[in-house]
């Protein structure tokens, strides 16, 4: 039996090649994902461990708990504590560490990197063991910095160059006095690191006299834990917390692993989709192989093979195919892993170096996935093979597959679909996260239902295409009829494409609608011409607001300043604004009262008002950061959105109680509205600061749009896998159709259909099947997109459905292209059929 199975494998190489390809793609995706994520996390972990080489014990400030009317705040790590740490017997040295955001501009004046990875810190003394200088000397005083070698190389800076940079506001123009190398993970990931001397760093980062951390290095022979014990004894327990370097490295490794596992799971979901689509193709192929071999299998039964042996022979064949596909997939997967890594490298996200990790788990998964999926998909056809009666061997013609009634199938499909639609609809009425699970279940039910129903749907939908196909004469007519000849096969083929397009369309509709609603939120609530913020989202120095206020052509400004406070023992966030101008810079719908901020009058958002039972005119007492209390009056309640919410208070009222004012953004209105010239003059007023973004409303929209575009493009790229597998499915089905209809095609050629006509017939059939899958997929996708949107709409006031007609047209076109491409080879084969042999063959 095993030998027969092997012979069959080698006898149907071409057909099985398609199956191998389909399985291989799925396996390649799975193993590629595993190789990539394992390699990256191994490299990251190795690197992070290296990053802690200079820290045997880290001393961090303790936290002063919030209590009564006082808000919580960190304790201070002073120079004295650093010195004390250095004095414990086991310590070789102790370094005070200060860090903060530091934007550095390239020679073109633009920020280097994305902003989120622009780091700054202190260079400890003349020789900082953490950062060995390769050139120049350590920075001294305010006018000097040293930068990491990667950034120096990237921007083309050399020792002695003057650079423009900024920490939280004013532009600085220090000289580079040195270049250092570092294992810092942030730099390895494409960021920049700029170091000042310690005093300058503390001043710039607003931490005068204090440190963020004390990195203590142990003497040779002193263990982490011993050093830690000594430090805990020497330092005031309520002020500091100590952690060993090993623990820090472990924590970070764990954090990396968990962040990678999210990525891994995401990628594996797509691999799963590709494999799921692949199973249709495998099942299709084996069904065809069995149909083709009916006589052969019947002969085996006639000479004494049992049913089980027949099934087993099909399964052995599947096993061989699956194993071959797994090997090929594993090899391809390693290639994908390497490719992904270098792709990420080119996408402004350099990946740490490290050896390629191909774990035993990866290899095992590849084989399990490849073999199990193939054998599962071949199981039904194998059972069907066993049901072939021995007498079929004697009949002269191909035993026609008994056209089993579709009644049961249609009933099941209708039930599943109806249940799916019902659950999805029910989910849309739920709020936010409650609806997620039912939505997912409903979607799966509906997809299964539609899949089961596709044979039924194929007739009316394809019939609708008849008027178009009529243009192509006989070829069109025959193509239409051929495509509904075997509804099950057509359905399985179209479904493969449907699933990919459902997901793509659903994502596009949901993301498009979401983007529109966020966009609208920004546009609706912001009346300012410009919003000024820090490139990394850090707070701006209050100088920025003052500078902008005085800038040419500026008519109104207001910061949005974050501050914490306590109300009835609960922490509440305040937004400090300029009371006199804020009304003209924002636009809110009022639930009650007026939008009036000034003195003790504040406005609160609807959510907070509801929590405390406030209305316009309500009074309440609030404790500031410094513990002082004030009685405030609610002048109005506004309807908040996801961008702006909270209690708005005048900065003048707030200022006396703040130690470190932190302006998140500054809103600006100019005399002539937004224009390139106005923007330029604002940027100039801020000293062309590389760390500060000046954005008009269009820029904000673009920024939002870009985030969505990046995510969508990634999803498109991943779902392309499913579409490629679907193409293989269409090729497979067409090749089979051509094979089965060889005699018909021969006859058509004999009575005068030329090669072109035959090709056109096959191509149109392919097009019809693909478009059928495309229409179903896009339809389902729109429904899911709408449903997901409804669900999100419950938590998002500005949500509305946006149908991306252009995109949907592109997707339909994509389906058509799939059809045309998939038909290339089968159509050629059909046109080249030897018509005499086709006619003669029985």
């Amino acid at each position: 039996m095993f030998r027969t199975a092997l012979r069959n494998v080698s006898a149907h190489k071409a057909r099985l090649l398609m199956t191998v390809l389909a399985v291989m793609l799925g396996v390649a995706f799975v193993s590629g994902t595993l190789v990539f994520t394992n390699t990256i996390s191994a490299a990251l972990q190795k690197q992070s461990a290296k990053g802690f080489d200079h820290v045997d014990v880290a001393v961090t400030p303790g936290w002063k708990e919030a209590e009564g009317d006082r808000v919580g705040e960190p304790r201070e790590l002073t120079r004295a504590l650093v010195d004390e740490s250095a004095r414990v017997p086991g310590a070789e040295r102790a370094i005070g560490v200060v860090t903060g955001f530091t934007a550095i501009a390239g020679k073109d004046g633009e920020l280097i990197g994305s902003g989120f990875q622009s780091q700054g810190g202190n260079h400890w003394g003349d020789k900082d063991p953490r950062y060995p200088l390769t050139e120049g000397r350590a920075p001294r005083g305010e006018g000097e910095i040293v930068i990491d070698s990667e950034t120096a190389k990237r921007a083309g800076y050399e020792v002695g160059d003057t650079v423009r940079m900024s920490v939280d506001g004013p532009v600085l123009e220090p000289v580079i006095t040195g270049v250092f190398t570092t294992d810092d993970g942030n730099v390895a990931a494409g960021g920049s690191l700029t170091l000042f001397d310690t005093a300058t760093a503390q001043k710039l980062f607003g931490k005068e006299g204090v440190f963020d951390e004390i990195a203590v290095k142990a003497k040779d022979g002193v263990s982490d834990t011993a050093l830690r014990a000594q430090l805990e004894e020497a330092l005031p327990a309520e002020v500091v917390e100590t952690t060993t370097g090993t623990k820090l490295a472990d924590d970070q490794a764990e954090a990396i692993a968990s962040s990678m596992s999210g990525l891994k799971q995401g990628l594996l979901v797509f691999a799963g989709i590709a494999l799921f689509v692949g199973t249709f193709i495998i099942a299709n192929t084996f069904t065809m192989l069995v149909a083709q071999r009916t006589r052969e299998l019947a002969l085996m039964r006639a000479v004494g093979a049992s049913r089980r042996q027949v099934t087993r022979s099909v399964l052995i064949e599947a096993f061989v195919v699956g194993a071959v596909a797994a090997v090929a997939g594993l090899v391809a997967g390693v290639g994908i892993g390497i490719g992904l890594r270098s792709l990420m490298g080119t996408l402004d996200a350099p990946m740490p170096d490290g050896p390629l990790v191909i774990s035993a788990g990866t290899v095992v998964s590849a084989f399990v996935v490849g073999i199990v999926v193939t054998m599962l998909a071949a199981w039904l056809p194998g059972r069907r093979a066993a049901k072939i009666p021995p007498v079929a061997a004697m009949s002269a013609l191909h035993a026609q597959a008994t056209t089993k009634s579709l009644v049961l199938r249609n009933t099941l499909g209708a039930l599943f679909s109806a249940a799916g639609v019902a659950v999805v609809l029910a989910a849309t009425t739920m709020s936010g996260s409650d609806g997620q699970a039912p939505m997912g279940i409903g979607a799966v039910l509906l997809i299964i239902g539609v899949f089961v129903l596709t044979p039924l749907l194929s007739r009316p939908l394809i019939a609708a295409a008849a008027p178009v196909l009529r243009v192509f004469g006989v070829s069109g007519k025959l193509a239409r009829q051929n495509s509904v000849r075997n509804p099950r096969r057509t359905a399985a083929t179209a479904s493969a494409l449907m699933i990919g397009l459902t997901l793509i369309t659903g994502m596009t509709v949901a993301a498009g609608s979401l983007q529109k609603s966020i966009d609208k939120m920004a546009a609706d609530s912001i009346e300012a011409d410009y919003v000024v913020s820090m490139a990394n989202g850090n707070p701006l120095s209050p100088d920025v607001a003052r500078t902008l206020e005085r800038a040419d052509g500026v008519t109104a400004t207001s910061p949005m300043r974050n501050a914490v406070s306590r109300i009835d023992g609960e922490t509440e966030y305040l937004t400090g604004v300029t009371g006199s101008t804020i009304g003209g810079l924002t636009e809110f719908e009022m639930e009650s009262g007026r939008f009036e901020v000034g003195g003790a009058r504040v406005v609160v958002d609807d959510g907070t008002a509801k929590t405390y039972g406030w209305r316009a005119g309500s009074d309440f007492t609030l404790a500031y950061e410094d513990g002082e209390k004030q009685r405030l009056t609610v002048s109005g309640v506004y309807v908040a959105n996801e961008m702006i919410s909270g209690i708005m208070i005048d900065t003048a009222t707030l200022a006396p109680h703040e130690s470190e004012p932190s302006d998140m953004v500054v809103m600006v209105k100019t005399a002539d509205g937004a224009s390139d010239a106005a923007k330029e003059s604002l940027e100039k007023a801020l000293g062309s600061n590389p760390g500060i973004k000046v954005q008009d409303r269009q820029d904000l929209s673009n920024e939002i749009a870009q985030m969505f575009t990046v995510v969508l493009n990634m999803v498109y790229g991943l779902l392309a896998m499913a579409v490629i597998v679907a193409v293989i499915g269409v090729i497979n089905t067409l090749a089979m159709s051509v094979f089965e209809r060889a005699q018909e095609i021969g006859m058509l050629r004999a009575i005068g259909l030329d090669r072109k006509g035959v090709k056109r017939m096959v191509r149109l059939e392919s097009l019809v099947i693909s478009l059928f899958g495309g229409v179903l997929g896009i339809g389902l996708g729109v429904f899911f997109g709408w449903a997901v949107g409804e669900l999100m709409g419950t938590t998002m006031s500005t949500y509305e459905l946006v149908l991306p007609w252009g995109r949907m047209g592109v997707f339909l076109l994509l389906a058509a292209v799939v059809g045309v491409l998939a038909a290339l080879w089968p159509a050629r084969r059909a046109a080249r059929l030897n018509m005499l042999q086709a006619i003669k063959a029985e």
Binding site: G473, R749, A750, I751, L836, I839
Partner: protein, 265 residues
């Protein structure tokens, strides 16, 4: 042409009297497969003419080259040397596209099996060659043909709903419907029971007698051959004999003779 036809009876006047025009002609036609050791001569300088409004049967044992001859003359297969003409058209110089058009417009075919497309109704199958050409069928002629083969009440049926005999009648109607210059049949009754076969052969003969159609048919059945005006015998790729106005017995007689010859030589 009102002569009452009956198998084995010589019709009034030889076919050559009615018209001497030739519908198709093969001259010195050879078809050779392979080279050297494996060289097989399927047709060896065969010259034969098929006159208009004549019903010719080609007979011979299997491997004699009878099907190959028909395929070459009908433009279904290429040949090694010699010439084939359909009407005034020389086939040897035609490309595939032109050959296809020639088959579509000038030739009708009836095969042993797989004559019909299962997805098309009987009527659609009949008009298929004209659909392919993008021509409108001549309604009157179509009615005549359909009436002749007795399918008027079966036109909307699918092939699977028709008996084997009915299917072959549809094939005959299709071959006739586009008024080809010549119809080729490749064992058209090979898959039929004798009654259905007789019906189909009767239609073919009637089309020759009453409609002036030219028909060439390959068969190995002496009874079928007896419906023809002329029988050409092939053996080893050569024409070895010819009988005008055959009867089943006379055909059988000749065949036995070749058999015997083949055995003694």
């Amino acid at each position: 042409m009102t002569t009452a036809p009956s198998p084995g009876l010589h019709p009034g006047g030889s076919p050559a009297d009615r018209t001497t025009a030739v519908a198709a002609r093969a001259t010195e036609l050879s078809k050779i497969y392979g080279q050297g050791e494996t060289r097989v001569v399927a047709l060896d300088r065969v010259s034969v003419a098929f006159r208009q409004a004549e019903f010719t049967a080609i007979m011979g044992p299997s491997g004699s080259g009878k099907s190959t001859l028909m395929h070459c003359v009908a433009g279904l297969d290429t040949f090694s040397s010699g010439s084939v003409r359909i009407g005034e058209t020389e086939l040897g110089s035609l490309k595939d596209k032109q050959l296809t058009r020639l088959r579509r417009d000038k030739i009708g075919f009836i095969f042993q099996a797989f004559n019909l497309l299962p997805t098309l109704s009987a009527l659609e199958n009949i008009t298929l060659p004209m659909d392919i050409a993008g021509r409108r069928p001549d309604k009157e002629w179509l009615d005549t043909v359909i009436r002749m083969v007795g399918l008027a009440d079966r036109l909307s049926h699918r092939p699977s709903q028709l008996s084997g005999g009915q299917q072959q009648r549809v094939a005959v109607a299709r071959a006739l419907a586009s008024r080809p210059e010549i119809i080729f049949g490749d064992e058209p009754t090979g898959n039929l029971d004798s009654r259905s076969g007789a019906e189909v052969l009767g239609f073919l003969r009637n089309s020759v007698r009453e409609l002036g159609q030219t028909v060439v048919m390959v068969t190995h059945d002496p009874v079928a051959a007896a419906y023809a005006d002329r029988v050409v015998f092939l053996a080893d790729g050569r024409i070895v004999d010819e009988v005008h106005g055959p009867t089943a017995d006379s055909v059988l007689d000749r065949m036995k003779r070749f058999d015997a010859k083949g055995r003694t030589s």
